[in-house]
């Protein structure tokens, strides 16, 4: 089998080394690139994420990669969004004002409240938390997150969460301070997770391996 050309989209925010190391470790080496041509000619995209939503969208615009990313998704090629990379898939975000996103998954990115049911909530949500598999994904083809991940711990670092409009797009949920939120979402060939599989030890690496095997 020919190895697939996977591009880790570099929109010039945050740390790309962790995801790159993880892809190497699982035997699916990827290229880091911010070139529109590389994105257009790739077989699959990974949008990693650390940083602010507005900055990320602005950088993508400036680099001329918004359109190639959207075209890649429309043509049915797989995309994996991680953390901010999931949030960017949504219609819009409330982070520092309202910013439009890629609009692939309908919904809004919201901040965790500082109090839930009168209890102080620590924001950002940092650390390991369990994912509950709601659905194996609506994708007709491509990646499905199997039930074996139900109840597994994954690593999270975020202050904002995705509020997907269509419950059918929600793949996993996670409780934070008693509030369930969407911890991964999928639509068609697109899958996004709020947690960091590349930082979630052997379980996270296994998920990345299954995603790369599904390409």
């Amino acid at each position: 089998m020919m190895s697939k050309r996977i591009i880790i989209v570099d929109y010039q925010l945050g740390n790309l080394f962790s995801i790159n190391n993880a892809m190497q470790k699982i035997g699916a080496p990827a290229e880091i690139s911010s070139s529109p041509e590389a994105i257009a000619s790739s077989d699959a995209l990974i949008i990693p994420g650390v940083g602010a939503f507005g900055d990320a969208m602005n950088n993508m615009k400036r680099l001329g990669i918004l359109e190639p990313i959207q075209k890649s998704v429309q043509s049915g090629r797989p995309l994996l969004g991680i953390c901010l990379g999931l949030q960017l898939l949504l219609s819009e975000s409330e982070e520092f004002g309202i910013h439009p996103g890629l609009g692939i998954i309908p919904g809004r990115v919201r901040r965790f409240p500082n109090k839930i049911a009168r209890q102080k909530v620590k924001v950002p949500h940092v650390g390991w938390n369990r994912i509950r598999v709601k659905d194996s994904g609506t994708a007709k083809r491509g990646f499905k997150l199997s039930d074996q991940y139900d109840g597994q711990f994954m690593y999270f670092v975020h202050s904002f969460y995705t509020d997907a409009c269509d419950p059918a797009d929600v793949v996993t949920e996670t409780d934070y301070a008693g509030m369930p939120f969407c911890s991964s979402a999928a639509r068609g060939n697109v899958f996004g997770c709020q947690f960091h599989p590349e930082k979630s030890g052997p379980v996270g690496l296994r998920m990345l391996k299954e995603w790369s095997d599904s390409l």
Partner: protein, 282 residues
């Protein structure tokens, strides 16, 4: 319910993993990257690597160590020690760190916290506070491994650090560090109650029971542990040849541990926590 993180702390000096008492009297233990990989494979939730001498001329050796660890260890890693500029932080992140801890630079110029949080995201920036309890019961912040007095009162400083945009606070009790006498529960509780960002307790763990105490009494969100894990390796019967660095092998192979330290494995600590009704990743 929150999931408590158990974070092995690796104090690094040059090419070596070291461990001191009250941040002084450093003893060479072995190769940091081998300890790091061992802890990763045995259930560490994160790693915390501290360059304890933080001398500029040895920075490249630290970055090499960090890069080697990052290739093998797929959990978050925080790097601290002597980070004074945004460029220093960028270099640590480029070497493979996920988060950085700053202390002295934040105290000298508090806006540095905001600048760093804006540049790299709040969750990337930890502020380390080294606290020493005063005879009147107040806690004051220090720098340079508890040597330099800053005049800052710890609780006020913790609140200020949060306002300035730090993502987490790691609170070190210099009085307890390396002693095995238990975390300073009062200190941790005061800091934890004062801020909304996560608080990592550090300094003093001598047994799994000390870990559960600082979580249940002081509401720590995470704990740094060092001696009990390092001594857990030293006193175990696993083959230690890989852990050794050049020279200074005497302590690692001696099988001796400091008397107040109960040598433990990560799984011992986590099972103890679960037994106390504290959620953690097992």
């Amino acid at each position: 319910m929150k999931t408590v993180r158990v974070i092995p702390r690796l104090d690094i000096k040059g090419p070596n993993l070291v461990k001191g008492i009250r941040l002084e009297g450093l003893r060479v233990l072995g190769k940091p990257e081998v300890f790091a990989k061992y802890y990763y494979e045995n259930g560490a939730d994160e790693l915390f690597c501290m360059d304890v001498v933080a001398s500029l001329y040895e920075r490249n050796s630290l970055h090499d160590i960090i890069s080697r660890i990052a290739k093998e260890v797929h959990i978050p890693m925080t790097v601290g020690g002597g980070l004074r500029t945004l460029e220093d932080i960028r270099a640590a992140l480029r070497a493979g760190a996920d988060k950085v801890a700053i202390n002295t630079a934040a105290i000298k110029r508090s806006e540095f916290i905001t600048e760093a949080a804006n540049a790299f995201g709040a969750s990337t920036i930890l502020v380390a506070i080294e606290a020493i309890r005063q005879p009147d019961g107040r806690y004051l912040a220090f720098t340079d491994n508890g040597r330099e007095h800053t005049g800052l009162e710890v609780i006020q400083w913790a609140k200020r650090v949060e306002e300035l945009g730090a993502g987490e606070i790691v609170i070190t009790s210099v009085d307890r560090e390396g002693t095995g006498e238990g975390y300073d529960v009062q200190l941790t509780r005061e800091v934890s109650a004062a801020v909304k960002i996560p608080v990592i307790a550090h300094g003093g763990a001598g047994s799994p029971n000390d870990v559960s105490d600082v979580v249940s009494i002081a509401s720590a969100d995470a704990v740094c542990v060092a001696s009990i894990l390092h001594y857990g390796i030293i006193t175990s019967d696993i083959d230690k040849s890989e852990f050794l660095t050049e020279g200074n092998t005497e302590f690692l192979t001696s099988g001796r541990a400091y008397k107040k330290i109960v040598p433990s494995k990560l799984s011992d600590i986590k099972h103890h926590l679960v037994g106390k009704g504290i959620e953690c990743r097992v």
